[in-house]
């Protein structure tokens, strides 16, 4: 459970540090007139609300994957574990996800600078590449099945399917939000600021899922 614990310790330490800063040397029993700095909490008002919610969600997803990886490392220690050879296709898929993440960042930068002409191609390329990644993972599954590597063969196979599947589900969730933003851009509906916000948050999510994938891929390759 070390992986789960270390991840959790990092999340909790961050939270703790922040809470300390909030509560250190305060005297809650002393009443005073409201000052403007006290307004709307520490993150400066409503504009960051979605970012805070996304950050909290990413902490949940981190906990989810860290716990699967903990289970992976515990299960690996048992005698029947046979390391699996990962399909070469995963490298191509990884490359697609890396480029997708990069293009999303480019799109985000364009959105922040107000270069609206770049949004449509940027979003579409990101979407195609990300869908390509998901399809690629599916094809990798097919290749494994065709070569007789089924989920029941060995716990390493089972974990492979579980990890890649769980990751792909999270990507699909991201694609749903991407789809809504893209639809607004393509149809020309929706406020520019809302679209920009949506793209900014999606970009964070894409980078996060890329990072998760790189860690998972590294784990799969090294074991």
């Amino acid at each position: 459970m070390e992986i789960g614990l270390i991840t959790l310790a990092i999340i909790l330490a961050t939270l703790l540090g922040w809470l300390l800063k909030q509560s250190f040397n305060t005297q809650p029993w002393v009443a005073e007139q409201v000052s403007d700095t006290a307004h709307h909490g520490p993150f400066g008002g409503g504009s960051n609300t979605k970012l805070i919610a996304l950050t909290a969600f990413l902490a949940v997803v981190t906990s989810f994957f860290a716990l699967i990886m903990s289970a992976y490392s515990l299960r690996m220690e048992l005698g029947d574990w046979v390391p699996m050879t990962e399909p070469q296709l995963l490298w191509t898929n990884t490359l697609m996800l890396v480029v997708a993440s990069g293009v999303f960042q480019w799109t985000r930068n364009a959105a922040v600078k107000g270069q609206e002409g770049r949004l449509k191609p940027g979003l579409l390329i990101t979407g195609v590449l990300t869908l390509g990644f998901v399809l690629g993972q599916f094809v990798a599954w097919q290749q494994l099945q065709n070569s007789g590597q089924f989920i029941t063969n060995n716990p390493s196979n089972a974990f492979f399917y579980f990890l890649t599947g769980a990751h792909a589900v999270h990507i699909l969730g991201g694609l749903y939000v991407w789809g809504r933003a893209t639809l607004k851009v393509v149809l020309g509906t929706g406020e520019a600021s809302a679209i920009r916000r949506s793209i900014e948050l999606c970009t964070i999510y894409w980078h996060f899922l890329l990072l998760v994938w790189l860690i998972l891929f590294g784990l799969l390759l090294s074991t």
Partner: protein, 587 residues
């Protein structure tokens, strides 16, 4: 979906106030309505679980007298009773119910920051409850694996409900976790982002602190349950061997090999122990506010209370293996987990001392919510002390599979949180409904419940010491037990049925109050927190009329020297009250 200030809402079509019955009471995005929906659903399933426990007690108290209870459905009763009480009742009620109702009102916000997601959270929760209830009626019945669902037996032949029952249970849990995550993200973000002007973190009432930290625990711990549920679903449906070792089941080989049941236990308890505090921390917070309000005294050691909640929350993640002493482990690990378990007693004891010190020299009003709160201190100390016994490996090993453990966890996380639930409902009932309940009936409800639960669980400790095994349908080869153990069991059953029956008083009281209870004052307890200061009573959609409140002080300005009332609401400015007070408990 984003949070739009009420004053800015007029031009936005989607934020029109609900005007039809359906949008107001069914598909409502108002946190107060969602809270009530959560509350009613949770209490409804809780009553089912109460009924199940009554059936178990009938069998244990009067074995063989009831032909309709056989070993198979006895195990189904145990499993469903535990799972419903812990997850579908207490977690949902404290966070979905009280969390939803109290966070926006106590923090001075219009609503949760994502009202649509909040509504979705309830409907997904309802779906999980429906799936859970369906599992009673499928062929083979609900699962009888015990609430911990340990493999291999949870999915092996011989356990009741291994076909559809366990599948529906795992699916229901996974759906519940999705619902909780949607709600939880809302609660955390609302606390962080939507507090009104002046409501600093260290001015929040302890109820909000308890719910806030419990939500964080839930968000980080429920994924462990999700992971184990998914992996067990794979083991069951796809024949993987995550958890399933090579077993011979009823003379046949189901085809598993090499899996680790211990791995499941680690994952399950990595969720399971924080779950105890997901239920306990909101109770701690709420009871602090109840005690302070009804004792007319500031809570003793507010900052320490906050930090104790945080410390307990953090520590709750590193004690999980104390549930696994009997599974066997490296003695050094046992030592580690015993130590961390005992360390949790420190912040917990701080809280108990501070509650008692809050009562010290207070102007105690023994109203119904106060009775339940003081009752909680008793039951929680009793349950907590037996926890110190069980936290030690050497004491846990002989006691683990006896009624001592049943008594321990029912005192500490059954009776104690439920007493707080009742106290909280009585306390906030006037705010929620605008009507008062019958005080005398409420007091009868308290005394019968409080004394009755002692009559149930105190003797169980003795049964545990005597070696009465838990989980058994019938005693079997237990000749070492004196015959009087069975008499005690019968007495416990009578008490349990009595306590279960007296809960009808609560429902009679509430229904009577709804129909013909006297209209309540907007602030009947003279409380300081914001929810009692709303312009409308009960609060309407948007909570605060045209202007959000401003907060100038903490939530515990009771009996302030030199001030004529014995309370100063949080939204009263310093110009209207004497400044320079120095009466905190931490100097």
């Amino acid at each position: 979906m984003s949070y739009v200030a009420y004053a800015d809402r007029d031009h936005e079509q989607e934020h029109h106030d609900p005007d039809t019955f359906i949008t107001k009471y069914i598909y409502s995005q108002d946190h107060k309505v969602i809270a009530i929906q959560y509350g009613i659903t949770a209490i409804f399933v809780g009553l089912i679980a109460l009924g199940l426990s009554a059936m178990m007690r009938l069998q244990l108290g009067f074995p063989d007298d009831f032909a309709f209870i056989n070993p198979e459905n006895y195990y189904q009763f145990i499993t469903m009773h535990g799972m419903i009480m812990v997850i579908y009742l207490l977690t949902a009620l404290f966070l979905g119910g009280f969390g939803n109702y109290l966070i926006p009102l106590m923090c001075g916000s219009r609503d949760m920051v994502f009202p649509f997601m909040n509504m979705l959270s309830y409907w997904v929760y309802l779906l999980s409850v429906i799936i859970l209830i369906i599992s009673f009626f499928v062929p083979g019945g609900s699962t009888g694996a015990g609430w911990t669902l340990y493999p291999p037996q949870a999915i092996s032949e011989g356990t009741p409900g291994i076909d559809l029952g366990i599948l529906l249970m795992l699916a229901s849990l996974a759906i519940f976790i999705v619902a909780f995550t949607m709600g939880g993200l809302n609660y955390v973000t609302t606390v962080l982002q939507a507090r009104c002007k002046g409501m600093t973190l260290m001015r929040m009432p302890l109820s909000v602190w308890g719910i806030f930290i419990a939500t964080i625990l839930g968000l980080l711990a429920f994924p462990a349950l999700l992971v184990s549920a998914i992996m067990m679903l794979f083991d069951k449906t796809l024949m993987t061997s995550f958890f399933m070792p090579a077993v011979s089941s009823m003379g046949t080989d189901p085809g598993y090999s090499g899996g680790s049941p211990i791995l499941f236990q680690h994952l399950f308890w990595f969720f399971g122990h924080p779950e105890v505090y997901i239920v306990a921390l909101p109770a701690f917070g709420i009871v602090s506010d109840l005690l302070s309000t009804h004792a007319r005294k500031n809570i003793f050691g507010y900052r320490m209370m906050v930090w104790a909640i945080i410390a307990i929350g953090g520590l709750s993640f590193i004690v999980w293996a104390h549930h696994m002493y009997v599974s066997g482990m490296n003695p050094y690990f046992g030592f580690f987990f015993a130590t961390t378990t005992l360390i949790i007693a420190v912040p917990t004891a701080i809280k108990v001392y501070n509650w008692v010190l809050t009562l010290w020299e207070g102007n105690i009003h023994l109203r119904v919510p106060m009775l339940f709160s003081i009752g909680f201190i008793f039951t929680f100390i009793h349950g907590g002390l037996t926890g110190l016994f069980l936290g030690n490996v050497t004491i846990d090993l002989p006691l683990s599979d006896t009624y001592f453990v049943v008594a321990h966890f029912h005192m500490v996380m059954g009776v104690s949180p439920v007493l707080v639930v009742f106290g909280a409902i009585y306390h906030w009932w006037p705010k929620i409904t605008g009507r008062m309940y019958n005080e005398t009936l409420g007091k009868w409800h308290f005394w019968m419940t409080f004394l009755g639960t002692y009559a149930i669980y105190l003797p169980m400790h003795y049964l545990g010491f005597a070696g009465v095994p838990r989980r058994y349908f019938a005693m079997g080869n237990t000749d070492f037990l004196p015959a009087s153990a069975q008499d005690l069991n019968a007495a416990i059953t009578v008490s349990a049925l009595f306590v279960a029956a007296t809960q009808i008083l609560f429902f009679i009281n509430m229904i009577w109050s709804l129909k013909s209870g006297p209209k309540s004052d907007p602030n009947p307890w003279d409380a300081t927190t914001l929810e009692w200061q709303t312009p409308d009573h009960p609060p309407k959609h948007g909570n605060w009329g045209h202007e959000l409140p401003e907060v100038h002080r903490w939530a515990y300005d009771y009996s302030v020297p030199g001030y004529e009332d014995d309370f100063i609401p949080q939204n009263v400015g310093t110009d209207k009250a004497p400044a320079g007070r120095d009466h905190g408990g931490e100097h």
